[in-house]
Amino acid sequence: MKRYSAFAIAREALRYHSGWERAWGNPEPKKRYDVIVVGAGGHGLATAFYLGKNFGITNVAVIEKGWLGGGNTGRNTTIIRSNYLQDPSAAIYEKSRSLYETMSQDLNMNVMFSPRGVIMLAQTHHEVRGYQRTAHANALQGVDTTFIGPQEVKRLVPIINIEGPHYPVLGGLWQARAGTARHDAVAWGYARACTDMGMDIIQNCAVEGVETEGGQVRAVNTSKGRIECGKLALVVAGHSSDLAEMAGFRLPIESVALQALVSEPIKPCMDVVVMANTVHGYMSQSDKGEMVIGGGTDGFNNYTQRGSFHHIEETVRALVETFPIISRLKMLRQWGGIVDMTGDRSPIISKTPVGGIYVNCGWGTGGFKAIPGSGWAMAELVAKDAPGPLAAAFGMERFREGRFIDESVAAGVAH
């Protein structure tokens, strides 16, 4: 595949842009693949990419019920950070954040990674203590974060009101190397790189059944027919329980809707990401000028991909108190995605009761930031049939052993 470059733009400009190639193919499925990855979202595509790049496994199909990157990869608020409390989380999220730094070069696709910095506001004394503890933990883990006071928050975010009547800003956890990236470009970049390695990305191909024999996976039955596989990687976020049911096991997962919204575009007014977990809201400004706002999850199981009005009201009410200048902004769009919540709010990268089937799920409300690290760790698990150092702690046997990776206190809703 021809590389994207400044030279390529000049070359194509001289010939009326007639030489651009398709970035990824639209193949019919082959009879058999060494590995089938179910789910062409960020995590699934990254899994396929690192299977090829790190392990030389390229007889791979990524099959997708809908369209490429059309699930949570296209529905998140694009925040990338790694300021987690527990060591296993910090390790995989920091690996992921560092891979984002070189992703545009690695994929030869501009993913517009913008390390603009993320502040997580401390608005109660409990949060101040919690984030100071996280900052100390991060120092030991080699993750560069600092706890900053309210005046420093105000200097970084001039539009913030640090003296709100309900929840004054008492400080914040600041990660300068955190930021955002263009979510669609991440999916497209991986899809293009996977196609370049000879992998098949098969869209509009829903899995309807999983065929096993003697406790070992044999094939998947799809809307495009039966496809045999040596190994099967299920990377389908909110729909993981459904696929696990087809394969004959149950997961410690519950699916709920998480929603986000964006405002009309306005002039640049905030060049960092601000998260306010006490009031369940977070906000950043896109390159187009829209204020991108994320809220809380619905409390009950559902697969509706739409969200609910009262959560928007709660989120916007809290953010208006924190950012008074947004009070008259009109909201342009609102949408929901189905997120997969585990009991300890940490992900699952694991072998399963069925031989040759692996799951990567449970990223809950914070999967986008983890895409490259998750793919890296999942590819190692699939290739070696054993987890590497990044994935070892995230096996689902931890729920039986009582060995939780408890991030719910530190990160609550806004993972």
């Binding site: 997961l251 410690p252 699916s255 409390g299 009950f300 199981n301 559902n302 509706t304 009991g343």
Partner: protein, 107 residues
């Protein structure tokens, strides 16, 4: 907005008045049970893309816990019933089957 009828006080309550409580009819693991039984009770969930039997509390009303049968994709509610019901009652099952003749029951 999701609206459920509280089987105790009869009020039609929308979701802002209610607190969700997760999957219903779980069988509690107890002393002497295996680690697998405890794991299944505490963490493994049916999480169906379809009919879900679940616990709710009329938190800003009468305060009682009750159970509901609801579709997780359409949010259609098939009925609510008291919390002290070990299995889904016949009339709730009938209400589900009336709308979904192919439904095969709880997984």
């Amino acid at each position: 907005m999701l609206i459920l009828t509280c089987p105790y006080c009869g009020v039609e309550a929308d979701e802002t008045e209610l607190a969700p409580g997760g999957e219903a009819h779980l069988k509690r693991a107890t002393v002497g049970d295996s680690d697998e039984a405890f794991e299944a009770y505490l963490f493994a969930r049916e999480n169906p893309k379809g009919v879900h039997f679940e616990r709710w509390r009329h938190a800003y009303g009468c305060g009682k816990w009750f159970l509901a049968a609801r579709h997780t994709v359409t949010l259609e509610v098939y009925g609510t019933y008291p919390a002290q019901t070990p299995e889904p009652p016949k009339d709730i099952i009938a209400a589900v089957k009336k709308r979904l003749p192919d439904w095969e029951g709880r997984g």
